[in-house]
């Protein structure tokens, strides 16, 4: 397993009227982050929040190219980003113990915080398709270039780690500095991860390790 220190590229926030940052996602232009009773769109270039949607937003956030998905209590809401309307809801696989959310390969991937698992879920029905075991509490989840990454955060210790999606083996970890935690995780598709900072009320960008392509 490769182990290195996470390199923080940029910090956004804290934002007014935002005590906590839960899930984060990226729609190609804006970072969306969940802050309890709102989803906020943040412009990564200017650091300004450009708009927000009033919707219960208690944990993970994801974007499928068209819709936002947001965990609230024990369900996952499908939201139209243009109107802010909740189009559908499905039950969350951990019944409220859910924490991270990612979209990949046509399915949703949901972190089960205390269960230390990641569930793959049918986005239409909420049915669990398969489950990957981690050995740490799972906060944010993201897929990028066929790699499955998730955040962990226990007390003072937090990291972002890459799992083998078949075996659940930890392949690589990026350790966060002490006291800085990852509550939500999303790749920008390039060389950055966006991380929710929990009760710091911040969103941080960290460097994603580059791969030498074969």
């Amino acid at each position: 397993m490769k182990r290195s220190k996470a390199e923080i590229l940029q910090e956004y926030g804290p934002f007014p009227h935002t005590e906590q940052v839960h899930g984060v996602t990226y729609d190609g232009r804006h970072i969306w982050f969940a802050s309890g009773d709102r989803l906020n769109a943040l412009d990564p270039a200017s650091g300004e929040t450009v708009r927000s949607i009033d919707v219960a937003a208690h944990a993970g956030t994801a974007f499928d190219g068209q819709h936002l998905f947001q965990i609230a209590e024990d369900r996952i809401q499908k939201i139209d980003p243009a109107t802010g309307r909740v189009l559908a809801t499905i039950p969350a696989p951990a019944g409220g113990g859910d924490s991270g959310l990612a979209w990949a390969e046509g399915t949703l991937w949901v972190g089960h915080y205390r269960g230390r698992k990641i569930h793959q879920v049918d986005p239409d029905t909420g049915r669990i398709l398969r489950t990957i075991e981690s050995n740490r509490v799972v906060t944010g989840v993201t897929w990028v270039d066929g790699e499955l990454w998730h955040g962990t955060w226990e007390g003072d210790e937090s990291d972002v780690r890459r799992l083998d999606p078949d075996t659940g083996e930890v392949l690589e970890t990026l350790e966060m500095p002490p006291g800085i935690g990852v509550s939500g995780l999303e790749s920008d598709g390039g060389d950055r991860f966006f991380c929710g900072g929990g009760n710091s009320g911040k969103v941080r960008a960290i460097r994603k390790p580059s791969r030498i392509s074969a």
Binding site: D37, A59, E73, G97, D98, Y113, R114, N199
Partner: protein, 406 residues
């Protein structure tokens, strides 16, 4: 943190206690236990709350030091509200240090306020003042600020600094209004009522009248010689002679003070100081001895003159002599004063607060109970005492976000 914990924490912050329980009632992880503990505390079930918070602290373990420390602070607050004054203060101190080290200034300030409230309750004013969270360094949320100002007001009241107490109460009131917690506003209001309630009686030439804190403050600064029956001292300006451990001498001083500028006959003094109905020669001899002792004690303040039928007091520098007496003279007024807060007290907590022996307090409580002035419930170690319920304001728990938020 997962999604239901976030939702439950938000419900708690909004005061929706049933919303908290609905979401985490069946969960036994550390976060859920802590949330349930705080909700139960706010619902008044302190016993259950204590158990839940203790299990939560245990479940968080050493690795989640901040979350664990918040549980310790919440448990300390429950101990304080249930008048469990024997609570280990070292544990609270350690939790406060942990919170400070991790930058959780709000909860650290809350822990300081709790320690100051405990010290205020047991009458250690200087220590309470030192324990209080510093005023300036970090902006505190309104609820924490209100709690702090309430402690400041309490210290000022006990020191008879009415003006400073009013300033602190005004601060507490506006902070409580900002916090939008009705129970907190009510607590500030009931504290303000104390300032408009007589705290003592003035017994002077020919009559007596009730005094407010302000009037006591004015009186003490007026240059009069005060025989202070609230504290059993004789004072003139900054010179204070304590007779707290000499009840006979104080009884004589008070009788002489009440009669000033007149004198008090020997028989009357004997009746007051020794409860002697008839006097014989041995009583007279004893009175001479005690008057001699009083003369020595008060030397710097007043002269104890022999008159034809008895004795009289004349001040050395002060223009007049007045007597300050407690508003109610009951044999066990101090015990009743503590029970007047409407909480249920254990006899051991009363003993700590009064600095008296548990046996003395026990005896006082038994006498008060047979007179119907106090009542008890529970058995053995759980036995608690309180005054018969009067309409008033409940004390509330003010936990400013002691939630594990990571």
């Amino acid at each position: 943190m997962d999604s239901l914990i976030t939702a439950a924490a938000r419900a708690l912050a909004a005061g929706d206690l049933l919303g908290v329980l609905n979401r985490v009632a069946l969960r036994d992880d550390a976060h859920a236990l802590a949330l349930r503990g705080i909700a139960m505390a706010q619902l008044g079930d302190f016993g259950r709350a204590k158990t839940l918070l203790r299990s939560a602290a245990h479940a968080f373990g050493q690795r989640q030091a901040v979350a664990r420390a918040r549980c310790v602070v919440a448990e300390a607050e429950i101990a304080l509200v249930s008048r469990d004054l024997a609570w280990p203060t070292k544990t609270l101190e350690a939790a406060r240090a942990t919170l400070e080290a991790h930058g959780d200034h709000v909860n650290a300030a809350h822990a300081r306020n709790l320690e100051a409230r405990r010290l205020l309750l047991i009458g250690r004013l200087d220590e309470a003042e030192r324990a209080l969270a510093p005023d300036s360094s970090m902006p505190l949320p309104p609820a924490t600020r209100a709690a702090r100002e309430l402690v400041v007001a309490g210290i000022c009241m006990r020191r008879l600094q009415a003006k400073a107490a009013r300033v602190a109460l005004a601060g507490a009131e506006s902070a409580a209004r900002q916090a939008k917690i009705p129970a907190l506003t009510a607590e500030v209001e009931s504290a303000s009522l104390v300032l408009d309630t007589p705290v003592a009686r003035l017994i002077g030439s020919g009559g007596e009248r009730p005094l407010l804190i302000e009037e006591v403050e004015t009186l003490l600064a007026s240059g009069a010689l005060v025989v202070d029956g609230c504290r059993n001292v004789v004072r003139h300006e900054s010179l204070v002679v304590s007779l707290a451990t000499r009840p006979v001498l104080f009884a004589l001083a008070r009788a002489l003070g009440e009669a000033w500028p007149g004198d008090v006959p020997r028989t009357a003094l004997l009746a007051r100081a020794f409860r002697a109905r008839q006097s014989d020669d041995s009583h007279r001899a004893r009175l001479r001895v005690e008057i001699g002792r009083l003369r020595a004690e008060l030397r710097a303040l007043a002269e104890v003159r022999a008159t034809k039928q008895g004795f009289a007091l004349s001040p050395r520098r002060a223009g007049e002599i007045v007597v300050l007496a407690p508003p109610v003279e009951d044999q066990h007024a101090a015990v009743l004063a503590l029970l007047a807060d409407g909480e249920s007290w254990s006899s051991s907590a009363l003993a700590i607060a009064l600095g008296a022996s548990p046996r003395t307090v026990q005896r006082a409580l038994e006498q008060l109970a047979s007179a119907g002035k106090v009542q008890s419930f529970g058995r053995g170690r759980a036995l608690r005492w309180m005054t018969p319920p009067v309409p008033g304001f409940p004390t509330v728990l003010l936990l400013p976000g002691p939630l594990p938020s990571d």
